[in-house]
Structure formats: C-alpha cells, structure tokens
C-alpha cells in the first residue's frame, strides 16, 4: 500500500516529578494516500501527543521520543522541529480544537491569511489577497470579502474554524492533521465542518488524520480507524470492518456510551465506569482490565499483544469479542 504517512513503533514519554509519564507506548499507524484515518480514544489516551510527535511539534527538554515517522517517503522521525517545519509549507497542515489559538485576535482575517500565503508560498501581496478571498469561498464562507475585513472575535466558532481550514489548505497539503476540529462546536456546525473537510479531501486528493473522542464522527468521516487506549493501539481496521465486527471490549464500550437519539428515554445510559490508568505508573496486564466486563485472570498478568488477523484487523485482547478470527 502506498502510505503518505507511516508511523512505526513511536514512543513518547515525558519526564515528570512523579517519574516517566508514558503517553505513547509503541504505536504503528499507516495512512494510505488520500485516505482518512480516524484516531479515537478518550481524553488522555495519547491522541494529541501522538500527532504532535509525528509532526515534530513536541519540544522541551522533558520529552523522550523514539521510533520512525516516514512522511511522503522521507524519514522525519529523527528530525527536530525546525527541520520538520519545511514540510508544513509543502505537504502537511494541521487544525486544532480551538480555532482561536491558531488566529491572532487583534489582526483582521484578511491580513493574517494573506501574510501566511506570502510567507509560505512566496506570493506577492496583491495575489495573496485575491487568493485569500478564493480560499474563504472554498471553505464556503458566504461573503469572503466582508469576512476578510473582520477580526476573529467577530466570527462565530464555526466560521473561525472555516478560516483556519482555509489557511491549512492554502498550500494544497497531502496530509491534514485535524485534532478534534469540532469538539468545541455545536452539533449543527459540527455536521457542516465535517462535511466540508470530507469534500475538500476529495477535491484536493488530501489524506487526513482525524482525531476525535466520538465514534459517531469516525463512522461517518473516515476510511480507517485506530483506537488508542493508555498510549497503546488497541484496535485498528478499515472503518466499515471495525463497525461490522468489533473485536476489542474497549471499542465496544466506547460505542455503547455514545448518547444516541434512538436509545430509550427515561432510562440510564450505558457507560464505562472508572477511568484511564495512571500513565506514570502503569499496572501490569491489560490496561483496560480494571474496567473490562470480560476480564479474566490472565488479563491482569500480561499485556495482550497486538493480534493481526489475516484480513488485517488488529486488536489487543486475549478474549476478543466473537473469538479470534
């Protein structure tokens, strides 16, 4: 398979006063070109750290990183952030949960957007301004010219995220990292933004890593899924396959806990009790064991290896749902 991004055995830890915090514990992810990979897991499972490490964006003397990251044929895993930066102009881009962090609150949208085009693509000012308006049109902002004259604070959260997406796609990236791009938005706007991302992906032939804690989002907008738990890949498969035959008890629990419109009213919601294990002090055994409804003795003693079924469906469980394939 032709991968735009290939992450192999990525480990990321942070030195903390309480010891080494193991945020990512040996993760493999392959993103085929022009496809969409969902990264799903609850808060603290290592999604953001994994993406930032892959992009070379984790800095600081307390960061311990190892493993290989190949982007578009180049090994970038060992490069430091300054060297990885060149790839942002040409092939990678990213958007985050809070669009405000990516925008300067005291400058007009037009000058920010145009400036980034001048810097990244070497355009002249006049062309950059015209291109900025064009980009806002591409992300379906109804009145691009008026929006260029506004400050970020004058836009709604959804419009701000559109502006950030416009900036991100300016250099026609081959890969877009989207870290919870709709978590801060309401459901109607979320639906619009996800649809926009899917359309842009198709039109620009762009691959995407879509980070989310919501399996509903994954189901509708990704081709492949990686489920992270306590810094480990616990399940990985094409999206349709994963939903058709879920193997991992954690993924099943995550799915059941989604509030659904078709669930009976007046009752209690299915939920996952407890929480993630302490990342500075992982207990032996399967990290999901304390919360797993199928736990057995063996689970508390050994970490289950990642089993890869002949059809490529990978899962990390001794007693997978429906048995081993």
């Amino acid at each position: 398979m032709n991968s735009i991004l290939s992450i192999k055995n990525l480990e990321v830890g942070f030195d903390t006063p309480r010891g080494l915090l193991q945020a990512v514990r040996g993760v493999d992810v392959e993103v085929p070109g022009a496809s969409s990979m969902g990264i799903v897991g609850e808060s603290g499972s290592g999604k953001t750290v994994m993406c930032r490490a892959a992009m070379g964006l984790l800095r600081g003397s307390n960061v311990r990183r190892s493993g290989s990251v190949v982007f578009d044929g180049d090994e970038i895993g060992s490069l430091d952030s300054a060297d990885v930066r060149q790839y942002f102009g040409t092939g990678m881009a990213m958007i985050f949960q809070d669009p405000m962090t990516a925008l300067n609150p005291v400058r007009r949208i037009g000058s920010q957007l145009a400036e980034s085009l001048v810097i990244r693509l070497g355009m002249n000012k006049k062309d950059a301004r015209a291109r900025a308006a064009e980009l806002l049109g591409l992300v379906r902002i109804p009145d691009p010219e008026a929006t260029l004259r506004k400050f970020p604070g004058q836009l709604s959260g959804g419009m701000r995220q559109r502006v950030v997406i416009a900036t991100a796609i300016a250099c026609k990236p081959k890969l877009l990292f989207a870290d919870e791009p709709t978590t801060a938005l309401d459901v109607t706007v979320q639906a619009q933004i996800l649809e926009l991302l899917s359309d842009l992906r198709r039109d620009l032939d762009m691959a995407m890593m879509l980070v989310t804690h919501d399996l509903g989002v994954v189901a509708n907008h990704t081709d492949y899924v990686t489920v992270l738990y306590a810094g480990l890949v616990v399940e990985q498969a094409p999206t349709r396959k994963l939903f058709a035959s879920m193997k991992m008890p954690y993924t099943e629990a995550l799915l059941k806990s989604i509030p659904r419109l078709d669930q009976p009213s007046g009752g209690r919601m299915p939920m996952i009790g407890g929480r993630l294990p302490d990342p500075t002090n992982p207990e032996p055994g399967c990290p999901f064991a304390p919360r797993c409804p199928y736990v057995q003795d063996r689970c508390r003693k050994e970490v289950p290896p990642l089993t890869v079924a002949p059809d490529g469906h990978a899962y990390r469980c001794f007693y997978p749902i429906g048995g081993n394939a």
Binding site: A191, S265, M271
Partner: protein
C-alpha cells in the same frame, strides 16, 4: 409583543416554575439591542426534566440565568413555587436562592482553584450557616460520596488536580449542598468526553431521584438530552419552535428546525447512508431577526406567509406543540 404562544402551558397544583412572555434584551454595538430571549413561555411540573435545546447563540444560557434572576429581564414573569421572582424585593429573593441552583458548562473554571474540594462543597452551607462545622463536614462527605468521589481521598485536593468529569462531579455536589428544588444545568457535559458524558448524565439522573429534584437541562445536542429528559423544548433565535416528549420529538419532529437538529447527530454506523449536513449556513443576526418565522431564511418549506406572520404554538397531537405554519 408577539410571543410564541402558551398552548403548551399546564397550570396545575404541581407546577413548580411558570415562565410567561419572558424577554431579555442586551444592548448591542451602535445603540441597537438584541432580544436574546424573546417572549418565551413554559412551565415545569415538579419532578420533571425539561431539556432546552438549540444552536449556539439561540438564548439558552440567557434563559437559564434570567429565570434565576441572575441577569436583568425586560419583560414577562417568572413564578417559582407560586411566588413572583421578578417582582420580589432583593432580600426576599435572597431567601429563595438556596432552592434554585445552576451548574455550568466549563466545570474547571467554575470552581475557584484556590480552595480545596471540601471547602468548595461546604461554602454554600457555611454562607447559609447550616449546621455546626462538624455537621457540615459530615454533610460534605455525604455529598462527595453521593456524586461518586471518595471523600477521604479528594477532600483536601484542589480542583486543578482533577479531570473535567471529576470537576463536574464536584460542581454537582456543591450545587446540591443546600437541597435545592430546582437545578438548572447549562451544558453540563458539552466540555466532556463521550465516555464521561454518560457517567455524568447517569449521575444527574441518580441525584434527581435521590433528592427529588426538578431539572432544566440545557444542551445543543438532542442526543445528549434524549435519555434524561421528560419533555424537550426546542429554541431558535430567542423563540420556542416545538415542545414534546423525547420519543415524539425524535420519531416525529414537526418543526423544520427540529427535523434538521435530529439530522445533525452523527450516527455511529458507517453503512447508514450519510445525509448532507441537515442545516446550512449560520443563524441570522439576533439584532435584526427575520420577520414572521425566524427560521424562514434557512427553512426548506418557507412561504410568503412565513415572512408575514409569526407562527404561534399549537397542539398537533396530545402533548406535542409546534409553532409552524406548515408543519412536516
């Protein structure tokens, strides 16, 4: 004038809250004003959970705060436990405060980071001089255990040592300290992970049963309120669109906006056909709302009548009320 009607009101001996023609206006830039809440009426029967649902900016939080008189109102009335809250002098209102509590969306910033968990939960009791220090301390332990925290472990910790979900548990414990009759929850799970949302929703359900609460539950997400509510009120740009029970609203939404909201919830099933985003564009500016039906600029079924006349709430089936000239 022009409210959205009162057909859905159910005056009875069990009514705990009755809101009529409530209007809240804010001054906007350039001397204009925004009617964030524009003539809203509804009532609450003891023990029920009313969900208030609608897009960002439609006035949900403003409505919640106005009911508790946390912000000034510009018209209408609010009767709580059969007393007129808006007309009441300050000192009398103060006496009512313990009975009406509110919790907010951002659990972390709504708790003072300098105080220990025990102090945060005890504070309302101390302010109202309820019990001796020993009795209060015992009550704090009870409340912390009730919301699923181990009192001995968490008592002396500070809010920043906790996750968002745990902070929301602490907020809930604090809001229950004075044994309120009414609890208004403003997006209590929107800032939380899906997996933690279910825990907090179940906790609120437990607390409601245990302490006999009446709840108002504000959310932008219909799916979140589906399981916990007994009645849902859908709002758009400061007005009421539709009121119905949760199952009715899901299976047969009659207002075009409610229908779009139902369609916005992502279904966790990749083989289900993916509909286009159910609603396009942004809500119009509340400074200059559309005439007639406020939803008409985004409504697929809008006619001239929708621009000319404001629709009033009417009962389309028992317990199901819609403000629309051409219901689906």
């Amino acid at each position: 004038m022009a409210g959205s009607g009162k057909a859905h009101m159910r005056p009875s001996a069990d009514t705990i809250l009755s809101v009529e023609d409530l209007t809240v206006e804010f001054k906007a830039a350039g001397g204009s004003s925004v009617k964030a809440v524009s003539g809203i009426s509804f009532d609450l029967v003891r023990g029920e959970t009313l969900a208030v649902v609608g897009e960002s900016g439609c006035g949900k939080s403003t409505l919640g705060k106005a009911i508790l008189r946390l912000i000034p109102t510009s018209g209408g009335s609010v009767r709580f436990d059969d007393r007129d809250l808006l007309a009441m002098p300050e000192n009398e209102l103060r006496q009512m405060r313990p009975a009406m509590q509110m919790i907010f969306q951002d659990p972390v910033s709504s708790l003072d980071p300098r105080f220990s968990v025990a102090r945060l939960v005890e504070e309302p009791l101390a302010i109202w001089e309820r019990g001796t220090p020993e009795e209060r301390s015992k009550r704090v332990d009870e409340l912390l255990e009730a919301v699923g925290l181990d009192a001995q472990i968490v008592r002396e910790r500070k809010p920043y040592e906790f996750s968002g979900g745990q902070c929301q548990r602490i907020s809930i414990a604090r809001s229950l300290a004075l044994e309120p009759l009414l609890l208004i929850c403003d997006e209590p799970v929107s800032a939380l992970d899906v997996s933690i949302q279910a825990q907090i929703l179940n906790l609120l359900q437990d607390m409601k049963e245990r302490y006999g609460l009446t709840l108002v539950f504000i959310s932008h997400d219909l799916a979140v309120v589906k399981a916990v509510s007994t009645r849902i009120m859908v709002m758009y740009l400061g007005k009421v669109c539709e009121v119905a029970g949760p199952d009715t609203l899901y299976t047969s939404p009659r207002h075009h906006y409610t229908h779009a909201l139902v369609g916005s919830v992502p279904l966790p099933d990749p083989s289900a056909p993916r509909a286009r985003a159910a609603i396009q564009g942004e809500p119009p500016s509340p400074v200059d709302p559309p005439s007639g039906c406020r939803f008409r600029t985004r409504c697929p079924a809008a006619t001239d009548k929708c621009a000319a006349e404001e629709p009033q709430l009417a009962e389309v089936a028992p317990g199901h009320f819609v403000a629309c000239h051409h219901p689906r």
